[in-house]
């Protein structure tokens, strides 16, 4: 007896021959299948294409991979070393205090000097590298498109930048000529910004804080803290003419000038000056009154017999014992003292420079029953706790201790900036600014949410495009669900058509199947007859379906070409899903054929061959 496998091998050929013989019916079936397959492929392609395009755009634009700190705070160097090694972190550079991170550039159109933000960069900076620029080396700058437009320079030009500072009441400026290495595409941001290596940014910060930067020829020393005040009281022998009064709040840094009564003056200064003086209260409208403001005011009042007394409203000072200390600040020379009806301050009149060591830490203590101490340890709460000792140099004429007003100016500054006290030299010093922020880019957009959460876990709130990324993820999930719903609908329709057609084919071909049995096919062999036909129909349907998809996808991508960047497509099938779609279709076709196959095996050849 010959091997049984042989008849089985004939089944596909015979099944194909029958399909070819009934080619119109077969063609209709193939078209019906293609009509199910092609729209599903297009739908899948559209879903994948649009989602990928959206994702690509996010991925492509580094802005969507950036995590920006929401608050300014200090970060130690070690923090950067640690975070740089986190998975998903592609780029990290420290930034400094935003106020110190600025450069003055001359605007081309107006000829005025304008302040542009200066941001540190480093090798690997995706914002620069992915927006048409290289990373600048020392002596170079990369400009944002807006900065380049306003400064009127392009790549390869030289740009003179200025760093301004106010030291001991004098405005100082350092200059640098830098090469414009590149100009970023507008996509990188609409603000006027300059990008330079971190070392340069740190030098700018140092200079602004008063330090010298010898490498760049910028003069300076270890800087003293600048003085800041809440306002000033102007005392004159006679009222000012209105025009002069108005002039005092123009270009002086002061914003408001009002006549002040005796009670108000006492509240602001802590003591009552001699009677009969005209008093005006000046302030910067909530802003900071600086030494240059005071200087500008003095300039305008030249010729008037006057005393200008800056004041600091509120400080948190405690004596060593922990009880609050509320000294009043007063620095008057003999002339001023005479006009106010006081004695001159032992430390002399107001001076923007700190003067000899120990001058600022002098104090006049009120007369008490006990012998007043010679030295008084004091702590001031600011950015950090500032601890120093006051030396008693005399007796306070008031109920409260008196200190130089410059001390209060320093302490007020210390509430906003790091200030240290050098006990050996008896002087206050501006602390060098540490790193106050960072520029962080994730490697992929999908890393952003995790990094966002991880930073939040460290108590660092960041601003990131987490929402945009999650929106796409939600859209993806929604479209996937929609796709599956539509798939289930149309696939069940297609399967039903296949089941019905294959079954009908078996019924129609009972006699032929009976003859095949008579010729030596076993039941098991005719079982595969409809199965083979299902697979062949499915295969042809897939070919037609993919052809339909390809032409439709081409048309779709063409009609949206104007919206798309080169290489982007709205309709594209994920490569991994193509074999899956083929396998699923064939599997479904075989399943659909099983009903017909079961019917085929039940055909009785003795009956079938006698049917006419």
């Amino acid at each position: 007896m010959s091997a049984q496998a042989r008849p089985l091998l004939l089944v596909p050929g015979l099944a194909a021959a029958q399909l070819r013989h009934e080619w119109i019916l077969s063609l209709c079936l193939v078209i019906a299948l293609a009509a199910v397959i092609a729209p599903l492929l297009v739908l899948l392609g559209l879903k994948h294409g649009t989602i990928e395009t959206l994702r690509e755009r996010l991925v492509e634009d580094p802005v969507f991979r950036e995590l920006r700190p929401a608050q300014t705070r200090e970060y130690p160097d070690a923090w950067f070393d640690e975070v740089r090694d986190w998975p998903g972190v592609a780029f990290l550079t420290p930034t400094i205090l935003p106020l110190s991170s600025v450069l003055q550039v001359v605007e081309r159109d107006s000829g005025r000097g304008v302040i542009f933000d200066l941001l540190p960069t480093a090798p690997g900076d995706p914002l620069l590298l992915e927006n048409g620029a290289g990373v600048p080396v020392d002596g170079e700058l990369v400009l944002s498109a807006e900065a380049a437009r306003r400064a009127g320079v392009g790549a390869g030009d030289e740009l003179t930048v200025r760093v301004g500072r106010s030291r001991a009441g004098r405005a100082e400026v350092a200059e640098a000529r830098l090469k414009v290495a590149a100009v970023l595409t507008p996509r990188a941001g609409s603000l006027a910004r300059l990008y330079a290596p971190l070392a340069f940014v740190r030098d700018v910060e140092a200079y602004k804080e008063g330090y010298a930067v010898p490498a760049r020829g910028w003069a300076g020393d270890t800087p003293e803290p600048f003085l800041s005040f809440d306002g000033a009281v102007l005392l004159l022998r006679a009222p000012l003419p209105p025009i002069v009064r108005t002039g005092l709040i123009i270009n002086t840094g002061f914003a408001r000038l009002e006549e002040a009564g005796a009670a108000e003056v006492e509240a602001l200064l802590g003591f009552a000056p001699a009677q009969g003086l005209q008093a005006y209260a000046l302030d910067a409208g909530g802003g900071v009154v600086t030494v240059s403001s005071l200087r500008a005011l003095e300039q305008k009042l030249r010729g008037y017999d006057r005393v200008l007394l800056p004041y600091v409203r509120k400080l948190a000072l405690t004596a060593a014992g922990g009880e609050p200390l509320q000294p009043l600040g007063l620095s008057v020379d003999a002339g001023q003292a005479a006009m106010l009806g006081l004695s001159a301050s032992p430390w002399g009149g107001f001076s923007a420079a700190s003067g000899e060591p120990g001058r600022l830490t002098s104090v006049l203590l009120p007369r008490t029953t006990d012998a007043p101490p010679d030295r008084l340890a004091v702590e001031s709460a600011g950015v950090g706790v500032l601890a120093f000792e006051l030396a008693r140099v005399g007796e306070s004429p008031f109920a409260r201790p008196v200190v130089p007003i410059e001390l209060l100016g320093v302490l007020r500054t210390a509430t906003q900036r790091g200030v240290g006290f050098d006990a050996a030299r008896g002087r206050f010093e501006m602390a060098r600014g540490g790193y106050r922020g960072f520029r962080l880019y994730a490697g992929r957009i999908d890393d952003v949410p995790a990094l966002f959460q991880r930073l939040r876990g460290l108590g660092i709130e960041t601003i990131a495009e987490v929402e945009a990324i999650e929106r796409i993820q939600v859209l993806d999930a929604g479209l996937t669900r929609l796709f599956w719903l539509i798939s289930v609908l149309s696939v069940s329709g297609g399967t039903a058509v296949l089941v019905a057609s294959l079954y009908a084919s078996v019924e129609r071909r009972r006699r032929d199947l009976g003859v095949l049995r008579l010729l030596g096919f076993a039941r098991a062999h005719v079982f595969f007859f409809p199965v083979a036909q299902g697979a062949i129909i499915a295969g042809l349907g897939l070919v037609a379906g993919f052809a339909g998809y390809a032409s439709l996808a081409f048309a779709i991508n063409r009609s949206f070409a104007s919206e798309l960047a080169p290489g982007e497509s709205f309709c594209v099938l994920p490569a991994g899903d193509i074999p899956l779609a083929i396998a699923a279709t064939l599997a479904l076709a075989v399943l659909a054929a099983l009903v017909a196959a079961a019917r085929a095996t039940r055909i009785d050849p003795a009956e079938a061959i006698r049917e006419q």
Binding site: S2, L519, G520, A522, R523, A524, P605
Partner: protein, 253 residues
């Protein structure tokens, strides 16, 4: 029938009961045998059970009861106990016997409409796993007068041509026994005789046994070695019984 030779097909005490729509038909075959190379005619009016007998021999219908049902293809192949194969429902073995040793000519040819005549004729050989040589096939086709039809589709053939092609297909793969079910029912008498004569002549030349079922005694009277007929008896209102009976060498004398 050559004395002492083992018959190719032997049925002893075989019966088939078929119930259809309230009426029962029972075919009884007390003794039936086909020797190697014999031409056996089965004649009778319609409804006498001759097709049922043929289906039993063709192994597509199971007997209701059988004392003995054997097939001996000869050529050193062991005798197969058909009764046992049916009892064990060994469908694959029955199909294998069909494809290896039997050829079948249907009333209306039974050609597969989706294959060309050549493919139809070649199919049994391919199923058997021994594709027939083209030369032999062409020779047989020439003898049957259908050599010109080989490349055509069955639809385009006349009924007579189809029957000749069906005979060619039944013989092409070298079977031991050809079963023909009213092979000439659809053609006129003259043509029928010519077809029948050709089939018998070819079978004798190829040494193939033939069982031909027909209602026309005259058609086979001269060529048949053995003739069987049926005695139909109405047992009661519902039941009809038909008993197969041998006639010996019919009409040769």
């Amino acid at each position: 029938m050559t004395a002492g030779a083992v018959p190719m097909v032997r049925l002893e005490g075989v019966s088939k009961r078929r119930a259809q729509g309230g009426s029962v038909f029972e075919l009884q075959v007390p003794s039936f045998a086909v020797g190697a190379g014999q031409v056996v005619a089965v004649v009778g009016a319609s409804g006498c059970g001759k097709s049922t007998l043929l289906d039993l021999i063709a192994l597509v219908m199971s007997p209701s009861a059988a004392q003995c049902f054997e097939m001996s293809p000869g050529g050193g192949v062991a005798t197969c106990d058909i009764r046992r194969l049916w009892a064990s429902a060994d469908e694959a073995a029955l199909a294998a016997l069909r494809r290896d040793y039997l050829g079948y000519v249907l009333q209306t040819g039974g050609l597969l409409p989706f294959l060309s005549v050549r493919d139809n004729v070649g199919l049994p050989g391919r199923i058997k796993g021994a594709p027939g040589g083209g030369a032999r096939l062409d020779r047989l086709a020439a003898r049957l007068g259908v050599a010109a039809c080989l490349e055509r589709m069955p639809d385009s053939l006349s009924i007579g041509q189809r029957q000749r092609v069906a005979i060619l297909r039944a013989l092409a793969h070298g079977p031991r026994l050809v079963l023909a079910d009213e092979p000439t029912a659809a053609v006129d008498k003259a043509r029928a005789r010519a077809i029948m004569d050709d089939m018998h002549a070819l079978a004798r030349d190829e040494g193939v046994a033939v069982v031909v079922v027909t209602h026309d005694v005259d058609l086979v009277a001269e060529s048949a070695d053995l003739t069987y007929t049926f005695d139909v008896e109405q047992v009661n209102a519902q039941e009809t019984r038909s008993v197969c009976r041998g006639l010996g060498r019919a009409g040769r004398a």
